[in-house]
């Protein structure tokens, strides 16, 4: 994958987040403050506004701009979380001009590191990490085949979990029975990134 292809992927993520704005906010309304769709749509719109008008020679510069836009323009927890994920990814692929399938795994490991640094969550706490960590393991063990279906099943699995991090944790056992909105938005990022690597 080249840098210009990554810009296209980010454009697609922006469109898909916007299409899912209401759904993401509905998921968030059930267990949080109901603004995840609005926040992510606003953040990704700011991202594409910046990246579509600039020229990038490497992935590090691109991901750094994505990080800063998300951190500045997403008012909820997802801003610092996705922002720090992209910042760690930017550090990992400093000066890189192409990304391979193996690179993707390393890149996702960097994203996990960023999200854990910021949110201190581990697996099974009903967060975006429940999609990101399991998907990274799947890619390591089984490669790209069937990964989209696997990602969607990870999103579904958050429904049965009880939240112990973030605002949903205040609901205790009442957080069970709802898909985590961060898990859903993470699936949109991952599925589009994987499409880009496959292309």
């Amino acid at each position: 994958m080249q840098v210009n292809e990554a810009i296209k992927i980010l454009d697609n993520i922006n469109s898909e987040i916007a299409e899912n704005e209401q759904y993401l906010s509905e998921l968030d309304a059930a267990i949080g403050d109901g603004d995840h769709g609005h926040n992510m749509t606003k953040g990704m719109k700011a991202v594409v506004t910046i990246i579509d008008e600039k020229d990038y020679s490497d992935f590090g510069m691109l991901f750094k701009d994505v990080a800063m836009q998300l951190i500045s323009n997403v008012g909820g927890a997802s801003g610092p979380l996705y922002g720090t994920a992209f910042m760690e990814m930017a550090k990992w692929c400093k000066d890189k001009v192409t990304l391979t399938q193996d690179d993707l795994i390393e890149l996702l490991n960097a994203a996990i590191k960023g999200i854990q640094k910021r949110g201190k969550a581990v697996e099974n706490e009903k967060t975006m990490l429940d999609v990101l960590m399991l998907t990274t393991n799947y890619l390591k063990d089984q490669g790209l085949d069937g990964v989209e279906g696997f990602i969607n099943s990870c999103v579904e699995k958050t429904k049965d979990m009880q939240a112990t991090k973030g605002r949903a944790s205040y609901l205790q056992e009442r957080s069970i029975g709802h898909i985590d909105p961060g898990a859903k938005s993470m699936s949109i990022f991952l599925i589009n990134m994987i499409k880009g690597i496959k292309a």
Partner: protein, 125 residues
């Protein structure tokens, strides 16, 4: 000198806490950083960075937050604007912690001393 920043999702909540503190410590350097630029609910890193940038270089900074994501936003701001050496992000209970910090700052305590004063008020954030 220690300056205190109150970070909240709500503009009204941040301003209310500053008001409460000013009643006790009129001269305290305490700033409200609440809500987004359009006053809707959320935490704005840009708003926080703007406040940090107005604080003189020789002042230390204590940041107190309301709930989870405001802490994460403040932590991101500290990471990105190179102030970690003179700044402490506290998980102290916001209302009580701000009062303790304000009183301590107004009697000239430094950041390490104020941090110690807050140690029994730390919450999970």
């Amino acid at each position: 000198m220690v300056d205190i920043i109150v970070v909240s999702h709500s503009d009204q909540l941040a301003n209310g806490i500053v008001e409460l503190n000013k009643q006790m410590c009129q001269d305290a350097n305490i700033y409200a950083c609440g809500g987004l630029e359009d006053h809707s609910l959320g935490t704005s890193i840009d708003k926080l960075m703007d406040i940090i940038n107005t604080i003189p270089q020789d002042h230390e900074i204590l940041i107190l937050c309301d709930i989870g994501s405001s802490y994460m936003s403040a932590e991101s701001a500290i990471d990105f604007c190179d102030i970690a050496d003179r700044c402490h992000l506290s998980k102290a209970a916001l209302v009580e912690g701000s009062l303790v910090a304000c009183v301590s700052a107004s009697v000239g305590k430094d950041l390490a001393e104020i941090k110690n004063d807050l140690k029994d008020m730390i919450l999970e954030k």
